[in-house]
């Protein structure tokens, strides 16, 4: 049977609002684990890492939407906004964990942002996401017009790339996992250069 067609049918019927309700739940769950000893003996770092890694995963998921449509004909565009906003939520929570639970010393926070390249890069990625979150409403799209809106939202490419580099840079030694994330991001960005699948071959 036509798997893509079935998935497209499902994607048209399923409402998107439950995903806005579900998106924060992992964070609530991890916070609960952190409070009850479920995140190991160093819960702050573990919480920080889980939030950051999940944010990166959501950003990568968001990058998958367009190639899935152009190369497989699978249309998940209705879910892209909730994916993007959830990613932003987790980036914010990751940052808040770093600010309020991890470092807490304002002079050191500022020194870290300026002096530590991996933190500078992570912060830059976060800053790139702010205008995208602010203009995520239908009203904003109408106000800006689709062309300008789409151009602005290409900033996400830079944000995901910075996020992946941020992860690679904080690893000690030669570690595989962050490099796999970076490879996935580079691969998904490169796919945007591949011409759209010819309609006739479908």
């Amino acid at each position: 049977m036509d798997v893509v067609g079935a998935l497209n049918g499902w994607a048209r019927r399923v409402p998107t609002w439950p995903f806005y309700v579900l998106a924060p739940l992992p964070a609530v769950w991890w916070l609960w684990l952190g409070l009850t000893g479920g995140l190991g003996v160093e819960p702050i770092k573990e919480l920080e890492h889980r939030l950051g890694e999940f944010a990166l995963q959501l950003l990568i998921l968001g990058l998958c939407v367009t190639p899935l449509r152009t190369h497989l004909g699978l249309n998940l565009i209705r879910f892209r906004r909730v994916i993007g906003l959830a990613a932003f939520l987790y980036v914010v929570l990751h940052l808040l964990t770093w600010l309020l639970l991890d470092v807490r010393i304002w002079s050191q926070i500022w020194a870290d942002i300026v002096k530590r390249p991996y933190i500078t890069i992570g912060m830059a990625g976060f800053v790139l996401l702010i205008p995208l979150a602010v203009t995520s409403t239908n009203a904003a799209i109408r106000r800006m017009g689709p062309v300008a809106w789409r151009r602005l939202h290409r900033l996400v490419y830079g944000a995901v790339l910075l996020g992946a580099i941020h992860f690679v840079m904080l690893a000690k030694g030669l570690q595989l996992e962050p490099l796999l994330y970076l490879a996935a991001v580079l691969g998904l960005l490169a796919m945007r250069a591949i011409p759209r699948r010819a309609r006739a071959s479908a």
Binding site: G34, V41, V103, R104, D112, R116, L170
Partner: protein, 309 residues
């Protein structure tokens, strides 16, 4: 080495073995009653004697010390060593001692331990990643072993090597570092009474994930200097290869003394977080030489510690 320092404790202060074995039995018994069974002590106690070099800070729990480890041969996650290190064969174990020594050779662990007094050394441990613990190590001074094998005149450094067994060490199958893991000390650092070879913690044999059966502990240096599961000790004239120093010389110096004023290029070393204090504990200030400045600072007098980090 006996006589190098004068503890104000005597043998009378040592808890008689029968007493602490009893305590263990009581504790084990309490658990066993709950479980509806009778059980004796779980592990052999090492009977380590107290040391004046111990800090009076509260040690981290056995759970914390054994479940938050950096031992990349068993994986880079903090809990990977606890999961994987059971694969390491620690019996039999031998340490090759060579280089500029009078009596080089392959020394069985039992020979190394035959005539040493095991002490409990409760030390602060400061990881280069800006976290810290307090660990009740059991061990003996490295100087005792070096005296036994006879250090020759030309020796100025001591090199150490961890076992490299990819079949028992899943992390060592990947080139995270240039295996085997190697570390080194200057001879005066190695001879310092704070420097120990540890064979246990909490008065029990060393858990594999913490570097069984024998590891170095140098409490005033970042944790990665305290090399685990040592199979080779070589006295050398030249500064030896050290794994992290070799992989990232800008980030990890040969000395790697704990120093709140010299930052790691990627993060500040001014503060640290004590493991086990939960989600809301603030960082605490890092102490120069990890709080052992009185004992060790004189070894670095006149050295520019921003250059020799």
């Amino acid at each position: 080495m006996a006589g190098r320092w004068k503890p104000d404790l005597t043998w009378a202060d040592v808890t008689p073995k029968a007493a602490y074995m009893n305590r263990r039995q009581l504790l084990a018994g309490a658990g066993a009653v709950a479980a509806g069974a009778i059980a004796g002590p779980a592990m052999a106690s090492l009977g380590a004697v107290p040391s004046p070099y111990s800090t009076d800070e509260t040690p981290n729990t056995f759970e914390e010390i054994t479940n938050y480890c950096n031992f990349y041969e068993f994986g880079t996650g903090k809990e990977d060593p606890a999961r994987n290190a059971h694969m390491l064969t620690t019996e039999p174990w031998a340490v090759r001692i060579d280089g500029l020594v009078d009596k080089p050779g392959l020394y069985g662990l039992e020979d190394i331990l035959a005539d040493v007094t095991l002490e409990e050394r409760i030390y602060r441990l400061r990881c280069v990643e800006a976290w810290s613990m307090v660990v009740p190590w059991v061990g003996f001074e490295l100087a005792d072993l070096l005296a036994k094998v006879g250090v020759q005149d030309g020796a100025r450094y001591v090199a150490f090597e961890t076992a490299y067994r990819p079949d028992e060490m899943p992390g060592a199958r990947f080139p995270i570092l240039d295996w085997p893991y190697r570390e080194g000390l200057r001879l005066d650092e190695a001879m310092h009474p704070l420097t120990i070879l540890a064979t246990g913690l909490y008065d029990e044999p060393m858990p594999n994930q913490n570097g069984a059966p024998i590891r170095l502990v140098v409490p005033w240096k970042y944790g990665f200097k305290s090399i685990k599961s040592v199979v080779r000790i070589t006295l050398t004239a030249d500064q030896p290869h050290a794994s992290w120093n070799h992989s990232q010389p800008r980030e990890y110096g040969f000395y790697s003394n704990v120093n709140p004023e010299v930052d790691h290029p990627r993060w500040s070393q001014a503060t640290e977080r004590r493991i086990g204090e939960g989600l809301f504990a603030p960082r605490r200030p890092t102490l120069m030489f990890n709080g052992y400045a009185d004992e060790v600072a004189s070894m670095y007098a006149g050295m520019d510690l921003t250059k020799f980090y």
